[in-house]
């Protein structure tokens, strides 16, 4: 196992002092829909929750509802696609949940992730200084350092978000769909 360790002096990073952001985009909503429900037609079923519905969902899920807007799609196979966001201590996570016709979670995919930490390294910006200083020409000079080890991020907020969406489905989406036939 060959690995090399380098300490990058702060001076090399001084030019990029502003608040750091680690961000990743994995899937667009359309890509996630195509992956989770291949070959199916998805029809938007967006709605705004009433204050009564919000209270009921919060009671049921034991999670705070952050926005009244629900971004839901019905699929031609009877399932549901829900796009949502959660806020962690310092991160914003967009994710999508696929439910089958019975409301069971089929899959959860992270759409995008953005972490803001004052004082952390802003990875995309420091590549030029860093690579120029510490590595030879053979390196991919145009690449970002996209890998971080030790960034143990709790997925608790997503877990809570999924619980909230399941309550939203059971208390609002499914009854409305049923009423409409």
């Amino acid at each position: 196992m060959h690995a090399r360790f380098v300490l990058v002096p702060l001076a090399a990073l001084a030019a990029v002092a502003p608040p750091a952001i680690h961000a990743a985009t994995y899937l667009t909503v359309a890509q996630a829909q195509a992956l989770m429900f291949p070959g199916q037609r998805l029809t938007p079923d967006f709605l705004d929750l009433s204050t009564t519905q919000i209270a009921a969902i919060e009671r049921d899920a034991q999670v705070k509802v952050l926005t009244p807007q629900v971004r839901a799609w019905r699929t031609s196979g009877g399932g549901w696609f829900l796009a949502d966001q959660v806020y962690g201590k310092s991160e914003l996570i967009a994710y999508a949940v696929a439910l089958d016709a019975a409301g069971a979670v089929q899959r959860v995919e992270i759409l995008s992730y953005q972490e803001a930490h004052g004082g952390e390294v802003r990875l995309p910006a420091w590549r030029a200084q860093f690579i120029g200083k510490h590595h030879g020409d053979a390196m991919h000079l145009d690449e970002d350092i996209r890998n971080i080890s030790g960034a143990t991020i709790s997925c608790r907020h997503v877990t809570e978000g999924v619980r909230r969406l399941l309550s939203t489905w059971a208390l609002v989406l499914a009854p409305q769909a049923h009423a409409r036939g």
């Binding site: 690995a3 994710y95 995919e109 890998n147 080890s149 960034a151």
Partner: protein, 284 residues
Amino acid sequence: MRVAEVERARPLLGTFVSMRVGGLPPARAQRAIDLAFAEVQAVQRRMSFHDPDSELSQLNRQAARRAVTVHPQTWRVLARALRIAAASGGSFDPSVAPRLVALGVLPAPAAELAPDPAADWRDVRLLPGFRVRFRRPLWLDLGGIAKGHAVDRALARLRRCGATTACVDAGGDLRLFGPEEEAVALRGPRGRPRPVVWLRDGALASSAVEPEDDALSGRVLDGRRGWALAPGRRVTVAAAQAWLADALTKVVLADPPQARDVLARCAAQAWLHTPDGGWHRLPR
């Protein structure tokens, strides 16, 4: 120039698992990632301490009474855990779960027999036919080693699918391969020089003993003494496989001088950050 890559992430193993794959047409890349996520889910199903239906939970409930047959993968991960426990003289010990439960890091499982406080990794017997038997009641937690194993399985799957570059990252455990070296930034203290590790085909695992007020997940136990380690140390281990890198982080945190020998035998390297602000390379 890097080939087009596809990257995805899902919440699994109590963290975010992200995967990046290159060298495949988009549809095949997505299919490969789906298969690799399925590997991770299979490991979670078998080896989760939190899931009462996992094979691990079944062992914790029953293996003190009778030999329990498990999936060959689970058996082999257990064998590896016991190997590292033996090599480290028990400073890595997969049977510390009762103390982690007492600390509130892990939920208490529904066990018929309370764990024997005197039990340790030496009471786990691996029998032919992928059977496991405990000599005394104990609770196993494969935590990090299972997470590393899941990363290894996922990466192997991406490789078999024809990827020319791939990276799998599960909250601290990362493994990658490709034709060129890649840089991995390590989390370090603020206001200090930034640590970066370059590797081409291998695994990195990072582990830290966080300050008391900073989340329970940062608790690390010394298997031999059974107490939580003093905060302030963080370590990154580079090894050929992620399961090994993860297990070795615990060995280094518990006892850096002793870890030198274990690291050398496992062809691994570690960088330890101590509260005085220095980075130390092990073995030297």
